[in-house]
């Protein structure tokens, strides 16, 4: 498995943000991570990326344990956070070049040119982050993640700040990477996006996994049969957040 999470837990002081979470993502799979605010999605993704340390449990990336072999594990993954964190004084091209050097990318020029074209960043190579819109900065973060041949891609709200065309292109990019064999975990509140591009869905609520499977599998589950067949209906049902109009 490209991503293997076993009994992962993370606490902040006395607050349990994630509790006993286990799941796997295989190569070529695009898994949607959904949940209401505070469900523990971002904590999970940040822990998978090595930014936060797990309080309990084990995380493996392509078989490499993130705790005992972090360098090899991190070499294989790319994390695209919802907030674009960029170095204020490096240009777009210099960001890509820095990442390429740190990750040992071989065919940088070709890959960078392709990515800049794909993410509509062509002509912005020499721009500093402050000269870019939020959406553009988000694209730079995504370009930094994709410039290397990562086998595991983690997206946290990848569509935040993008324009309609950008959203469409981003969907295509994620699907293309999945088809190319990457294991992808996408955290998003946009359930229609998750339903459209993801091969499987994990729903979290209050730090725990409450559903895991394809939308069809979840819809056919006996306890969810009454919820409906769309991801939105299933989500609202399993998280106990029924709309008043649904009642």
């Amino acid at each position: 498995m490209s991503i293997a999470v076993e009994h992962f837990g993370r606490t902040y002081g006395s607050f349990k943000a994630v509790d006993d979470l286990s799941f796997e993502v295989a190569a070529g799979e695009i898994v949607g991570l959904c949940g209401p605010n505070g469900a523990g999605k971002t904590t999970t993704l940040r822990s998978l990326a090595g930014i936060l340390l797990p309080t309990t449990g084990r995380i493996r990336v392509d078989g490499f344990d993130l705790a005992t072999n972090p360098i090899e594990a991190k070499r294989r993954l790319a994390f695209m956070p919802d907030e674009p964190h960029l170095f204020e004084y490096l240009t777009v091209e210099e960001h890509l070049r820095l990442v390429a050097r740190l990750y040992g990318v071989q065919d940088f020029d070709q890959r960078a040119a392709m990515l800049l074209e794909e993410l509509e960043l062509k002509g912005k190579e020499r721009s500093l982050p402050a000269e870019l819109s939020r959406g553009m900065r988000q694209k730079v973060v995504i370009a930094c993640g994709l410039v290397r041949q990562a086998s595991v891609l983690l997206f946290d709200e990848p569509l935040t700040g993008l324009d309609p065309l950008g959203i469409r292109r981003m969907r295509e990019t994620i699907v293309a990477r999945g088809r190319a064999g990457a294991a992808i975990l996408v955290s998003s509140h946009l359930l229609h996006l998750v339903e459209e591009i993801c091969t499987r869905v994990i729903i979290m609520d209050r730090g725990r996994k409450v559903a895991d499977g394809t939308v069809a599998e979840l819809a056919s589950r006996a306890d969810l049969a009454a919820a409906g067949s769309s991801l939105e209906q299933i989500f609202l049902h399993v998280t106990g957040k029924q709309l008043t109009t649904d009642k």
Binding site: Y12, R46, A49, G50, I51, L52, L53, P70, I71, E72, A73, K74, R75, L77, F79, P81, H85, F87, E88, Y89, L90, T91, E94, R97, L98, A100, R101, L102, Y103, G104, V105, F108, R126, S127, L128, A130, E131
Partner: protein, 576 residues
């Protein structure tokens, strides 16, 4: 609106105090608070003790110096006047017009007048002014008891007046471009008054000082005498009035002085409120200035290429050094290539000047330049690593990115330290070279070989000492990440002040421990060989010292690796 402002201020102050009290449950803040309170207590009791020792409890120390009480306020008033004039020439920040993002979102669309918004900011700024005044009174008040209370009140009035004045200047400046002729004329009126005032003050000072020879002893009394009477006295009166309460020695002199100070405050406030029509533009500029400070520092034009692009392979340390170097060069917007010419020119000029001074026996200026070079060296050696924080301490802001990089922590730490250490070392080298070049003319008794032996040994030892300091600073940042202020912000509160004091002590102790093995090794070389080699032995000792210290740096950074691995995003706390 005032009730809403008071409500916001009261709630914010109460909640801030609660947050700070709540965080005392964590040992790091509790320890910091204990140290901070202890520091304030000893500062308070120390001053009280010294005040008691003075003749008469309630006397200001200015009184002890004959005539200073009279001259002090007028000369300080002259300084305030100069700053006030400068604020028209150089646009300064008007903190009173800097609305927070929440204030902009909630209050700008609210049905309140511009004047009410200005009053709101004035009310909001009171808590900060009061706390600062009280702390200043505890630490700096020249007398104890009621004298301290008087000093606090006087400082509060001064702070508020200065804040309101800068806001009034900012609002008036906006009126220069007003479409209404009357508004433009009204805006130029204070400029005309300040210009006339400057002519009067400068003219009076020049006439008085040029009339007869001035000695060092009578310079200040004569300058003060020229400025306290007649037309100059009238011009400087408001600026002196805001400072007289600080110099008051008893209640009888304090009350009228404070009344005058409050009168000035009332006048400046009325002036600010009269210009409220320019509020939107000025507040917008201030908000833009504050929110986009980082953006404002960015080069507006196309980004220059600084040096060659980063190679796609090589050591991690170089990549991180390159990243930090880019930040420095882009922040100051200076192209590397254009620095080489002036640097060579400066070096040639300095050498020529040193040779010329040696030939002409011009010891005075040479001594001054040598002393300046020495001061630069000492400052860069000991203050440089505290000030130039372009290492892990500043990169904690990017922790979320750094933690995902697949690199050895020791390489990252060394890379982070490398650029600022190199930068500070170059400044130290410049200071050492200036000292060596000019000390020849200033101190001709020191033989040429000895002088350059000391200089070369300093050139060798300085980078090692600087690298050691950066190692200590970064080690402390890794061990106590929550005590490191992110970016340009500083965590506030007595506990944070205590934390900073503890950190300073820890840095000094750690640095001493770092330097001891190298110093011992260098000392042994000196003991064994100084009779044989003379001053040249210092070079050998410095090489050994640098070798030992740099080895310690390498070992320490390797040992810090696991600490970096154990640290996560929650270890770093964003300041309030």
């Amino acid at each position: 609106m005032i009730s809403a402002s008071l409500y916001i201020t009261a709630c914010t102050t109460r909640n801030r105090i609660l947050v700070r009290l709540r965080r005392l449950r964590e040992p790091r803040y509790l320890i910091g608070a204990v140290v901070g309170v202890a520091y304030l207590y000893f500062a308070f009791s120390g001053r009280r003790g010294s005040a008691r020792r003075r003749r008469g409890d309630d006397r200001a120390p200015f009184e002890v110096i004959g005539g200073w009480q009279t001259t002090g306020a007028s000369l300080a008033g002259l300084t305030i006047f100069a700053l006030a004039v400068l604020s028209w020439l150089l646009p300064m920040r008007a903190g009173l017009l800097e609305f927070s993002r929440a204030e902009t979102v909630f209050l700008f669309p609210a049905p309140v007048s511009r004047r009410e918004l200005l009053v709101h900011r004035l009310v909001r700024s009171q808590a900060g002014s009061l706390i600062t005044s009280i702390l200043m009174a505890i630490v700096f008040a020249p007398s104890a008891g009621f004298g301290r209370l008087r000093f606090a009140l006087a400082m509060w009035a001064l702070f508020v007046t200065v804040r309101v004045y800068f806001a009034a200047v900012a609002l008036t400046r906006v009126q220069f471009a007003s479409s209404r002729r009357s508004a433009r004329l009204a805006a130029w009126l204070p400029v005309a008054l300040f210009s006339a005032g400057t002519v009067v003050v400068v003219g009076a000072a020049a006439r008085n000082l040029m009339g007869a020879p001035v000695t060092l002893a009578d310079f200040w009394p004569r300058l003060s005498g020229a400025l306290t009477s007649g037309l100059p006295g009238l011009v400087l009166w408001p600026f002196t009035a805001v400072l007289r309460p600080q110099f008051a020695t008893d209640l009888a002199s304090f009350v009228p002085a404070m009344a005058a100070s409050l009168g000035v405050l009332a006048f400046v406030t009325a002036w600010m409120l009269a210009n409220d029509s320019a509020f939107e533009i000025a507040a917008g500029e201030a908000a833009e200035q504050r929110a986009g400070e980082a953006r404002a520092r960015m080069p507006k034009v196309r980004v220059r290429q600084v040096g060659p692009p980063l190679a796609l392979s090589g050591r991690v340390e170089w990549a991180v050094l390159w990243k930090n170097a880019m930040q420095t060069f882009r922040a100051v917007n200076l192209p590397l290539g254009r620095l080489i010419g002036p640097a060579i020119g400066l070096l040639t000029g300095l050498t020529g000047a040193a040779v010329g001074m040696s030939a002409g026996q011009n010891r005075g200026p040479a001594g001054f330049v040598a002393a300046l070079g020495f001061a630069v060296t000492v400052m860069s050696l000991f203050i440089g690593p505290l000030v130039m924080r372009l290492d892990l301490r500043s990169d904690f802001e990017h922790l979320e990115v750094l933690k995902t990089w697949p690199i050895r922590p020791a390489e990252l730490i060394r890379g982070e330290m490398a650029w600022p250490a190199a930068f500070v070392s170059v400044i130290a080298w410049a200071g050492i070279l200036s000292t060596a070049l000019f000390s020849g003319a200033a101190m001709p008794d020191i033989p040429f070989v000895d002088r350059w032996a000391y200089a070369v040994s300093a050139l060798v030892a300085a980078p090692a000492l600087i690298a050691a300091q950066y190692t200590v600073q970064n080690a402390l940042a890794l061990f106590f990440p929550a005590w490191i202020a992110l970016g340009n912000q500083r965590t506030r509160g007595i506990d944070a002040m205590g934390q900073r004091l503890i950190m300073l002590a820890a840095i000094l102790v750690a640095l001493a421990l770092f330097a001891v093995p190298g110093a011992i090794a260098g000392g042994i070389v000196w003991l064994v060989l100084h009779n044989l080699l003379g001053a040249v032995v210092f070079i050998l000792a410095a090489v050994l010292f640098a070798g030992v210290v740099l080895t310690e740096v390498m070992v320490a950074t390797e040992l810090l690796g696991p600490v970096w691995e154990r640290m996560d995003l929650t270890s770093v706390e964003k300041p309030e």
